[in-house]
Symmetry: C2
Subunit: 350 residues, 2 copies
C-alpha cells in the first residue's frame, strides 16, 4: 500500500511528497461530466456505486497518493431537516434557511450512520475497490461553514445574515453551532468507522471572520467536532486516533488561532507563503497546501516553477502534503493535473 499520505499526516519521513487535490473528482474530468449528463450531484452522492465510480476516476487517471470519498458538505444539513437543491449554474440552494430561534430549535441531530448511510456504504465499497492502493479520506464541512449555508440559504460574499444572527441572537447561534458540532463530529467518526483512513474538516469560509470572532463563535465547535472524530482509532496506528486535516481559506491572519481548534494537519491556502505559515503554526503539526488552483492554467514550465516554489518553502520537512489552496476549478486543463501530480513526486524525491 502507498502510505506516503498517512505517514505525512503523522510527520513521518516519506520517499517523496504525497499529493492529492481538493475536488479531485469533478467537472474538469470528461469521465465525470459524462456521468453528470445522466445524474444530478445528489443522485451520485446518494447512490454508493456511482459515488465510488466518481471517487475512483481521478485515482485511476493520475498517480495520486490519496482518494477522497465523493460527497458534498451539505447533505448533513439535509439530514438535519433543511431542504437542499443544487441548481445548475447557481450552486446549492437551501429553500428553508434558518432565520429565527424556532428554526434552530426544530433542527434534528440524527445519527449519520442512518441518515447519511449512503456515504458510509460508499466508503465501505470504495475501500474494497481501492484494495489498498491508496488511503481513503472522509470529510465534512466545519460547523461555521455549514452554519453560513444554513442561514444564508446558499453561497454569500458578505455573510450579513450569518453574522447578524451571531451578533443579534447569540444564544440561537450557540445552540445552532452546538448541534452542528455534534452532527459533524459524529459524521466524521462514522466515516472513520466505515473505513475512512483520514478525515478532513473543510472550514472553507472561516476566513470571513475576524480572529476574535473566529475564536468566540466558531473555534469551540470545530474543536469539539475534531475531538469527536479523533476518538475513532486509526487504521494504521490503532493506538492513536484517525488523522484529521483541518482546512480553511482566508486564514492567513489567524493561523495560530485556527490551529488551536485542532487537527493533525493544517490546510492553508495560497495567500500565505508556506514556509511562513509553517513557522507560525509550529513544529507539532503537518501542513497541507498550497498551490493556487489557477496555477494549473499556466503553461507547464511556469507550473513547474510554481510547484518547485511550494516544495522549496516546505523544504523537505516531514509532514508536508502537497495540495491546492482550495478546490480544483471546473475549467482546469486535465493534462496539467496529470503533469502536476508527477512533478510533485519527481521534484520531491529524496
Amino acid at each position: 500500500m502507498n502510505d506516503r499520505f498517512l505517514k505525512a499526516c503523522r510527520r513521518q519521513p516519506v520517499d517523496c511528497t504525497p499529493v492529492w487535490l481538493m475536488r479531485q473528482a469533478g467537472r474538469y474530468m470528461s469521465e465525470y461530466r459524462r456521468l453528470r449528463e445522466k445524474h444530478t450531484i445528489l443522485e451520485i452522492i446518494k447512490t454508493p456505486d456511482l459515488a465510488v465510480e466518481v471517487t475512483m476516476q481521478p485515482v485511476n487517471a493520475f498517480d495520486l497518493d490519496a482518494a477522497i470519498i465523493f460527497a458534498d458538505i451539505l447533505p448533513p444539513l439535509e439530514a438535519m431537516g433543511l431542504s437542499l437543491e443544487f441548481i445548475r449554474g447557481e450552486g446549492p440552494v437551501i429553500h428553508n434557511p434558518l432565520r429565527i430561534a424556532a428554526d434552530v430549535a426544530a433542527l434534528r441531530v440524527p445519527d449519520p450512520r442512518e441518515s447519511l448511510s449512503f456515504t458510509m456504504e460508499a466508503i465501505r465499497l470504495a475501500r474494497r475497490e481501492l484494495d489498498g492502493r491508496v488511503p481513503l479520506i472522509g470529510f465534512s464541512g466545519a460547523p461555521f461553514t455549514l452554519a453560513s449555508y444554513a442561514i444564508e440559504g446558499g453561497a454569500t460574499r458578505s455573510f450579513v445574515l450569518t453574522k447578524s444572527l451571531m451578533y443579534n441572537q447569540p444564544e440561537t447561534w450557540h445552540e445552532l453551532m452546538g448541534k452542528l458540532a455534534t452532527m459533524v463530529g459524529e459524521y466524521l467518526k462514522a466515516q472513520a468507522e466505515a473505513g475512512a483512513q483520514a478525515l478532513q474538516l473543510f472550514d472553507s469560509w472561516a476566513g470571513a471572520l475576524s480572529p476574535a470572532d473566529y475564536r468566540r463563535y466558531a473555534l469551540p465547535y470545530s474543536r469539539r467536532a475534531i475531538q469527536t472524530a479523533q476518538t475513532s482509532a486509526s487504521s494504521v496506528e490503532p493506538s492513536s486516533g484517525v488523522p484529521v486535516i483541518h482546512f480553511g481559506t482566508g486564514t492567513s491572519g489567524m493561523l495560530e488561532v485556527f490551529k488551536e481548534a485542532g487537527g493533525d494537519v493544517i490546510g492553508v491556502d495560497w495567500r500565505v507563503d508556506l514556509a511562513d505559515a509553517w513557522r507560525r503554526l509550529g513544529d507539532d503539526v503537518a501542513v497541507q497546501g498550497n498551490l493556487d488552483p489557477v496555477a494549473l492554467f499556466a503553461p507547464i514550465p511556469e507550473l513547474k516553477k510554481r510547484v518547485s516554489e511550494v516544495l522549496a518553502q516546505a523544504d523537505g520537512r516531514p509532514g508536508h502534503i502537497f495540495n491546492l489552496g482550495h478546490g480544483i476549478l471546473p475549467q482546469t486543463p486535465v493534462e496539467h493535473v496529470a503533469a502536476l501530480v508527477d512533478m510533485v513526486h519527481e521534484m520531491s524525491r529524496r
Copy 2:
C-alpha cells in the same frame, strides 16, 4: 479645520482617533437612494454637482473626519477605451473585456485631467462646499484590481482569466499593467492638483494573489502609481507629498510585501488583528482599519464592544485612522453608522 485625519496620516498626535468609512456615500442612506431613483451611478459621477451632493451627504449626516469624492474605480478603464455599464442587481460589466495582446495594445492612456475632468471638477466644487470642515480624499483603483475587471469583464471569484493572462502572456500582462500604472498615477496626481488632500489606492483584490505573485505581477505597478501620486505637494505640508493610503483586502498573509509597494498609511481588513498587523508593518507607517463592515449590524452594545477592541489594538498609537475593513454594505442600519462615528471619537478621546 478638522485636521485629525491628515495629522493621523502623518502619525502626528491627535485629540481623538479620526474616522471615515469606505463607501460612506451610498445606498444605506435614504438621501442617496432618492437621488439614485432619478440618476444612474455613472450620471452622478459624471455630473459634478450631483457627485458633490452625494459626497456631502455622509459628511452632513455624521461627524466624519474626512470626505471622499464620490466616484468609482472603473471610469478610468472607460477613458482608456473599455465600454462600461452598471447593470442593476449585477454590478459593473465591461462589454469588451481584454483577452489578447491586440486588446491591450489598443488601450489608450489619456490625460485624466481631460478624460476624467468631471471628477476633477467635482473635487474643486467639493472643496469649496466643504469650506475647510474636513479634508477631501481622492482615490483610484490599483492597477491589479483594475486589470482584473478589465480582463474578467466584471467581478470574479476565481480570477481565472486574469491569472491565465498573467501566466500565459506575461509580456501582455506587463504591458497592460504598465499602462494602468501610468493612468492610475496620473489620475491620482490630477486629483491632488484639483484639491484632494489625501489619496487612497484601492487594491481590493490584491488578496487573490499569492505573496510571490503579488510581488512579481502587481507590486511594481502599484509602487509606480503611488510614487507618481506622491509627486503632488501636500496642501498642509508643501515640503512633502500628498499622503497616500494603500488599501487592500485579503492581504493578511503578505502585509510586509504589500507595504513594500508604498503608502503613508496601510489599510487592512478585519481578517487580522490590528495590533498584529501593525507590529508586522512596522513603526514607519500609519494604519487604517479595521472593523468588519457587518459589525454595524450588531446591537449597539455589541458594536461598542467591537469598536473598543479595535481601539485597544491600536493602543492610542499616533497614526491610527479608524475605518471599516472594506466598504460599508447597502443594508447597513444608518443609525448604527451615526453611533459608530460618535463612539470612535468618545472612546478614543485623549
